[in-house]
């Protein structure tokens, strides 16, 4: 079980195993960094490296206090990363605005059976998909990245964001619906 491995690696780190933390880092470096980078968006992209580093330092410092019975390691990791991003926004006095897309229209759009979302085949399309993700409202964006990159369950996403499971579920649903609506019908153009 991966979650058990995570907790075991963290315990080994606390016990002084120098390699355990590096292994844990390698496991979650990419999802954690992408989560921070995409939440920040382009305007604050330069802060991603620093916040990512601060996140892992916080994890290392508080490793002894981690209780696997209360939450999974990855839920804890994304909780810390999310707080770092929100602290950054607070320091910079950033008001987080919602995306321009109409949520009702996003949900009303048909779920395309075949779309470029089925297979990202070009760098240009990949950039557009990522840009569309960055345009999602912050919490929806976070939920999608935690699911798609971190593999977090709905319960873990709810835990990491401090909301009810239903709320996490609806955020994820809105995010997916918007992306589907945005890329509906593009398969014939790009594929």
């Amino acid at each position: 079980m991966e979650a058990d491995d995570d907790a075991a690696l963290l315990s080994a780190h606390v016990a002084g195993d120098g390699q355990a933390f590096a292994r844990l880092y390698d496991r979650y470096d990419r999802p954690c960094f992408l989560f921070i980078r995409r939440l920040l968006g382009r305007a604050h992209a330069e802060a991603a490296e620093d916040l990512h580093q601060e996140t892992w330092i916080a994890i290392a410092r508080n490793a002894a206090a981690f209780d696997p019975a209360r939450a999974s390691f990855r839920a804890w990791l994304f909780t810390v990363a999310r707080h770092k991003v929100f602290d950054h926004f607070r320091r910079r006095k950033v008001t987080v605005l919602s995306g321009a897309a109409d949520e009702a229209a996003a949900l009303a759009a048909p779920d395309p059976a075949a779309s470029p979302l089925d297979a990202v085949v070009s760098r240009d399309l990949a950039q557009r998909v990522v840009a569309a993700v960055e345009a999602l409202p912050l919490e929806q964006r976070g939920a999608l990245i935690m699911s798609a990159q971190g593999g977090l369950s709905l319960e873990e996403i709810a835990e990491a964001t401090g909301v009810a499971v239903e709320t996490a579920k609806s955020r994820l649903r809105y995010a997916r619906a918007k992306l589907r609506a945005l890329f509906a019908g593009e398969r014939s153009v790009h594929v």
Binding site: F21, A22, Y25, D29, R30, F33, E49, H52, Q53, W56, I57, A60, R61, T95, V96, L97, S98, E103, A104, A106, L107, A108, S115, P116, L117, D118, A119, V120, R123, L125, A126, Q127, V129, V130, V133, P137, L138, E139, L144, I145, S147, A148, Q149, G151, L152, S153, L154, E155, G162, V163, A164, E166, T167, K169, S170, R171, A175, R176, L179, R180
Partner: protein, 314 residues
């Protein structure tokens, strides 16, 4: 469970994979692990003694400042001299017997009083006129004129002591802090109570601390009620929401993301809860940190019952 096989999730993961920069990742890995190791080594070093004592030093400083403040505010309950009768020549026999307080009937104010002019901008009395009774202020005179428990005439029972704070039923959901029992032992005097009734600087400090503790407990209780209201709203527990609102839960209290109980009831599609919150004054246009209001969320969910609830309907 979220669905990791959702095509949107997969497409997004593929897009990120396509844009992945392995060189940057390796560089980042080296930097982060070095920073973590360096931080670990720093925190493993023993901290200087002065920092370990910092908390005690700060606490001692605050305590000293509080005592100085209290000693400035406190005036001991000294027996007040009889108010001076202006322009009335004192009989020589009366002047000679009790040691007269620093008053001078129909005489210029003493040099001590002149060297420290009064704070008020009143002009100094003319020589020969009624001189102020030294530092015996008019306020003290007024206070001295009021009967106090200590000055009760013999034979009469002393006035009942004010009820102790701890004996009063507390409306707070939290137990009183450690400062409260001190307040119960020495309640702060009422606003119109003379200063002479105070028992010492300890009573002043205890009163200040009790007031602060009560305010803090009250704030925490309100915050806790708000959090419980949001949880109940998200879970659709109508009876709990109603009970919390009756208990005084702030209806528009928001969490760290700015989400209110109304927003959570909308997102979880609980129109009955939403209607109840609106009837209790919840603001459907208050935005969260994403700039979304409850109305926006209801529009996204698309349940007509939610729209009706926000309009104040059933």
């Amino acid at each position: 469970m979220s669905d990791p096989t959702d095509p949107v999730d997969q497409a997004y993961a593929e897009a990120e994979a396509m844009l992945n920069d392995e060189a940057a990742r390796a560089e980042r890995r080296a930097r982060v692990l070095a920073a973590v190791a360096s931080d670990g080594a720093r925190s493993a070093r023993p901290r200087p003694t002065v920092w370990r004592r910092g908390g005690w030093l700060a606490a001692a400083g605050v305590s000293a400042a509080a005592l100085v403040l209290a000693s400035q505010l406190y005036r001991p309950p000294t027996p007040y001299p009889a108010p001076a009768k202006p322009a009335a020549p004192a009989p020589s026999a009366n002047v000679a017997k009790p040691p007269a307080p620093a008053t001078a009937q129909a005489a210029p104010a003493p040099s001590v009083a002149l060297s420290r002019p009064p704070i008020s901008a009143k002009p100094a009395p003319a020589p020969g006129g009624p001189a102020p009774a030294s530092d015996f202020t008019s306020r003290d005179q007024a206070l001295a004129a009021k009967p106090s428990g200590a000055a009760a005439p013999p034979g009469e029972p002393p006035p009942p002591a004010p009820p102790a704070m701890a004996a009063e039923p507390s409306t707070s959901a939290f137990p009183m802090s450690e400062a409260a029992p001190q307040a119960a032992a020495a309640p702060p005097p009422a606003a119109d109570e003379p200063r002479g009734a105070e028992t010492g600087s300890g009573a002043v400090v205890a009163g200040l601390m009790a007031g602060r503790a009560e305010k803090s407990a009250s704030r925490e209780a309100v915050s806790d009620l708000g959090a419980r209201l949001r949880a109940a709203a998200a879970a659709g527990r109508v009876s709990d929401v109603e009970a919390l609102l009756k208990a005084g839960a702030p209806v528009d209290a928001a969490d760290a993301e700015g989400d209110t109980a109304l927003m959570m009831s909308i997102e979880a599609d609980h129109p009955a809860v939403a209607a109840m919150l609106v009837q209790h004054g919840a603001d459907p246009d208050q935005p969260n940190h994403d700039g979304q209001s409850a109305r926006d969320l209801a529009k996204a969910v698309g349940d007509p019952k939610l729209d009706a609830a926000l309009s104040g309907g059933p």
